[in-house]
């Protein structure tokens, strides 16, 4: 799989869009439901082209997110590296899962990520959560099929145009 130009462009666009979606202000009740957009992007690109998007890619994106929302430098890098690692391990299975099963797997990944955050923040200092803390992974899982199909479609179109 060579790194074609269309490919890189879609990659960059998806990262920028995910970053904006991460930052965009939501009404108060919806704030806690915001999924971990960048994780969804990382999962997609890791499944699709693991050769170029391994742990290093996830790590760098994590650093970007840390600067973006002002968390401890390395926190998101840590989280995304773990996600990317698990996806790489189970990639060959996840790829051929039916869509609903894939969404469940993504939900489990994001849930695991929430636990990691809890640990990291508990070590770094005080951190209080409520039950709504666990809702965001469900939203992420519910959105996964749409994101997957959308990115797949955009990417294949880009490829057709190029050939």
């Amino acid at each position: 799989m060579s790194r074609s130009r269309g490919f890189t462009i879609w990659l960059l666009i998806s990262i920028v869009v995910a970053s904006v979606l991460t930052l965009i202000a939501l009404p108060e009740p919806l704030r806690v439901l915001r999924p971990f957009w960048l994780a969804l992007i990382v999962i997609y690109w890791t499944i699709e082209s693991p050769d170029q998007h391994g742990l290093g890619f996830a790590f760098l994106l994590g650093l970007l997110q840390d600067v973006l929302i002002g968390t401890m430098l390395g926190e998101h890098a840590f989280r995304l590296a773990i996600i990317s690692f698990i996806v790489l391990r189970f990639r060959s299975r996840m790829r051929f899962f039916p869509m609903w099963q894939q969404a469940l797997a993504v939900g489990a990944l994001l849930l695991n990520d929430r636990v990691v955050v809890l640990l990291l923040r508990a070590i770094a200092g005080d951190f209080a959560i409520d039950w709504r803390y666990w809702l965001a992974p469900m939203v992420g899982a519910a959105l996964w099929p749409w994101i997957f199909l959308l990115l797949d479609d955009l990417r294949s179109r880009g490829r057709q145009r190029e050939s």
Binding site: P50, A77, F78, A81, F85, R121, A124, F127, A128
Partner: protein, 310 residues
């Protein structure tokens, strides 16, 4: 070469997801976090990176700004007129209050002069607007559009029209991060206005509640009491309203009372904020003692540390 399980080797290149690499990355991330939290070494890196990130933030806030502008443009004239009338009324009330306060202030100054107390300079205040980007809802941080370029400094108190919101946590050129007083790692020294009792109010992780965990049983505090900043510690100017106590109960060990209070400021909804600092504080940071030594006074010392005995 060892044979891996079925989902292993053939489908992805060797090493791209190795456990060792994961450990290496996690170690780097952990080291970064430790350095970032414990020391200020990465502050410059972060500030530089933030300059690059600023355009993204601008893009993210665009839809909201457009919506706001559209709403203002299409607002009904009648609505504006009634709003204007309301504001006028509020202004009148505020003006009346200020007039009364001015008299009290004058009286206060006279009394202070009689007591020969140190004259307090006024408050330095600076208007800042919220940058409408969403940081993690569980982190109780907000971003404002004023930074070191505008003279904002770390530790400056942040208020809105109703009360204390928090304090400045870090500053960059054009932006500053504020930690809200509801953050579990935030504490503010307060005074019960009715009785003068001094306590410390901690954030609870809930935007609508702060906690006063260690109030002596004998202390006179009850629901409805107003908490204002005490000014102890020098961080917050004294007298800013903070919260209203709504519940007092005993804690688990039954040795202290625990009071819950509701912040007066619209922490979740404030869009215009005021950065305030005591002018005296801003001009001269707290005087630090010359030496670290805090032992007995001069005459009682036998051999001061550092000067080796002959």
């Amino acid at each position: 070469m060892p044979v891996y399980s079925a989902e292993g080797a053939p489908l992805f290149s060797e090493g791209s997801g190795g456990s060792l690499r994961l450990l290496a990355y996690l170690a780097i991330a952990a080291a970064l976090m430790a350095v970032d939290v414990r020391t200020g070494l990465l502050r410059d890196v972060r500030a530089a990176a933030s300059a690059v990130i600023a355009p993204l933030q601008t893009v993210a806030t665009a839809p909201l700004r457009v919506a706001k502008a559209a709403r203002e443009a299409t607002a009904q004239r009648a609505g504006l007129v009634s709003e204007n009338a309301d504001l006028r009324k509020q202004l009148l009330f505020a003006q009346a209050k200020i007039d009364r306060l001015a008299i009290v202030q004058e009286q206060n100054n006279r009394l202070r002069a009689l007591l020969d107390a140190r004259q307090k300079l006024g408050l330095k205040a600076q208007l800042a607007e919220l940058v409408d980007v969403d940081l993690d809802p569980y982190r109780h941080r907000i971003l404002i559009n004023q930074g070191s370029a505008h003279g904002v400094f770390v530790g400056e108190a942040v208020i809105d029209a109703d009360g204390l919101v928090g304090q400045v946590l870090s500053v960059e050129g054009e932006r500053a991060t504020i930690i809200l007083l509801s953050d579990p790692s935030h504490a503010v020294p307060v005074r019960v206005q009715r009785t003068g009792l001094r306590v410390i109010a901690y954030g609870s992780g809930d935007l609508t509640r702060i906690e006063l965990p260690h109030v002596p049983f004998s202390a006179d505090i009850k629901a409805g009491d107003l908490l204002v900043t005490s000014g102890i510690g020098g961080r917050f100017p004294p007298g800013l309203p903070v919260a209203i106590v709504y519940e007092v109960e005993t804690d688990n060990s039954a040795t202290f009372a625990v009071a819950q209070a509701r912040p007066l400021a619209g922490i979740a909804s404030a869009t215009e904020l005021l950065l305030v600092s005591d002018e005296t504080l801003a001009l001269s940071p707290l005087p630090m003692p010359e030496s670290e030594f805090v032992g007995p006074p001069e005459g009682l010392r036998t051999a001061p540390p550092g000067e080796g005995a002959p």
